[in-house]
């Protein structure tokens, strides 16, 4: 398969626009994760929709564009959500990526009371059954797909289980049987190595290197002794040195993309100049691609152990891990009873909860601000924890915020201000999605109420009255 040489780039985030402008002559490609910029349509069967002006911005980017999805469930037993393929096909039509990619993970699980979201991408168990499942998922997704497909090599915070395949062999089997490309995420492999799984070089030695079309590089940080794929910093020096060993061995490498979250850029005060330096380092890597290709020395990987047969089937694994990562302590006990102790479960729980906390405070802006001022940071965190233990995560932030707002309304039914603040927060989210106009009733002067919160004060003794705030999508 002949793919174009795209070059170096990064995953798109709005806060990285200054870098895109400053690095216009240095950057070749931008990879878009469409679900990050999508909303939940209020009507119709599509699970996601993207605003036309957002699509226009993507079309105007003076770079090659790639698409990197999270909604396909390439590593899971639940089929891709109804309407997702149409949504993705529409993006391919509009943005003409040279190829598309997906995570070899799952974030939806079949529970007793219906399917639920895990708020985080979770790893499949590396077994022959999971290979068969992933191959079937990829083949089904690729049927009629207008561009080639690659899967991303994932991060896994769990310890290897007796009888599991190595990462390298698992990915190699899937890529060859599904006849697709590999997006080699070297920071994921770096995390796996540091956290007790297969080393980067051993995993790479087992891969069909001619199938590696793209590399992801990133930086992370530590949490409770684990190295996280946090996309929070520059590429660690030892990982960059490993990349210098690996990139020359790749005969068909077509893109190298850097991943960093714009929140971290802001919070750490990372300058655009420093980001440009990182892009220059990627350019140095790009120049040595395919310069030391050796054929025929791929390692086969270990044969499957006899105890592989005792590992749970994919659906059972998803339920155990999904429940443990996104549920209550009982679910953790069930995981431990079936699989054994694994501190990695605690990491997945923290990450899932960080995602839910981030959605709550950035969605229910005034409601959470009020509670922070009224009750304090610790008390709001305890409320969030209680909410997480009682409810499943939701895929869409708006749905998650509605769920948390319901929880808060029940808890603070006698609060004079909180219900109207929650109404207002949800209305803002709905209008940012696809509602033309939403009207919110206030029983206190809205400007005085919001201004008090903006200036960090708990509102007190505000004059009562009947007010309506009408929120619209245009200024």
């Amino acid at each position: 398969m002949k793919l174009p040489d795209l070059g170096i780039g990064l995953i798109y985030m709005p806060g990285l626009e200054p870098l895109l402008q400053a690095g216009r002559d240095l950057i070749d490609v931008v990879e878009i994760e469409p679900e990050t910029h999508a909303y939940m349509p209020s009507t119709g069967p599509a699970p996601f929709a993207t605003h036309p002006e957002v699509l226009r911005r993507f079309q105007e980017l003076p770079f090659h564009v790639l698409l990197h999805g999270v909604g396909m469930q390439a590593g899971g037993t639940l089929s891709t959500m109804s309407g997702y393929r149409d949504y993705f096909d529409g993006l391919i039509e509009t943005l003409s990526p040279a190829w598309v990619s997906e995570h070899l993970s799952f974030n939806r699980v079949a529970g007793d009371d219906g399917n639920y979201d895990t708020a985080f991408l979770l790893p499949p168990l590396q077994t022959a059954a999971s290979v068969e499942l992933a191959v079937s998922n990829i083949r089904e997704f690729c049927a009629g797909l207008k561009v080639p497909f690659a899967f991303e090599t994932g991060v896994n915070y769990l310890q290897p289980k007796a009888g599991e395949m190595s990462e390298g062999r698992f990915w190699a089997e899937i890529a060859e049987q599904a006849d697709c490309g590999i997006l080699l995420d070297l920071h994921n492999l770096w995390c796996n190595q540091l956290n007790g799984r297969q080393s980067v070089l051993d995993a790479v030695a087992e891969l069909p290197l001619e199938r590696v079309w793209e590399i992801h590089l990133a930086g992370g940080e530590s949490l409770n002794g684990y190295w996280l794929d946090a996309h929070s910093d520059f590429v660690p020096k030892p990982l960059y040195e490993l990349a210098r060993e690996i990139v020359p061995q790749l005969p068909n490498l077509k893109a190298i993309n850097f991943e960093i979250m714009d929140d971290y850029v802001t919070a750490k005060g990372i300058s655009t100049a420093a980001m440009l330096d990182q892009m220059h380092q990627l350019r140095d890597l790009w120049r040595i691609r395919g310069t030391r290709v050796t054929a025929g020395n791929r390692r086969a990987g270990l044969p499957l152990a006899e105890d592989a047969a005792q590992l749970p089937a994919p659906a059972q694994w998803e339920r155990l891990l999904g429940d443990a990562a996104a549920g209550n302590e009982e679910a953790v006990h069930r995981f431990v009873a079936a699989i054994g102790e694994d501190p990695g479960i605690g990491v997945f729980r923290e990450l899932s909860q960080s995602a839910r906390a981030g959605i709550a405070v950035s969605g229910l802006v005034y409601g959470c601000r009020f509670l922070l001022l009224q009750l304090g940071r610790q008390a709001l965190r305890e409320l969030l924890t209680e909410f997480w233990m009682a409810t499943r995560p939701q895929l869409h932030p708006l749905a998650e915020c509605r769920s948390f707002a319901r929880f808060l309304r029940r808890r603070f039914s006698d609060s004079p201000y909180l219900p109207q603040l929650l109404d207002y927060d949800l209305a803002v989210l709905e209008v940012k999605a696809d509602r033309d106009r939403v009207t919110v009733e206030f029983q206190h002067q809205p400007d005085a109420l919001l201004q008090a919160l903006d200036s960090g004060r708990v509102p007190e003794d505000l004059p009562r009255g009947n007010y309506r705030v009408s929120l619209g999508s245009a200024a």
Partner: protein
């Protein structure tokens, strides 16, 4: 919030109801606070469903208790 106020227009004041119109894009000041250029790109999707640690809780909850809005070093 100053930006929000400047765009807020009281379009009708008829007792007992006051109606205020706001464009949703400037209806809260979190985006302004983090000083990133979101413009038309409000964070609508499930950004953190990938594999990293979402720091928005730290940013927002520390913002609330720091009157100087000093967020340097919270993620580091």
């Amino acid at each position: 919030m100053a930006e929000r106020q400047s765009h807020a227009t009281i379009v009708a004041k008829r007792q007992p109801t006051v109606r205020v119109q706001l464009p949703a894009k400037i209806a809260n000041d979190y985006e302004k606070f983090v000083e990133v250029q979101r413009s038309i790109f409000d964070r609508l999707g499930h950004l953190a469903c990938l594999s990293g640690f979402d720091i928005r809780w730290d940013i927002v909850s520390q913002y609330q208790v720091d009157e100087k809005l000093n967020i340097q070093g919270i993620a580091g």
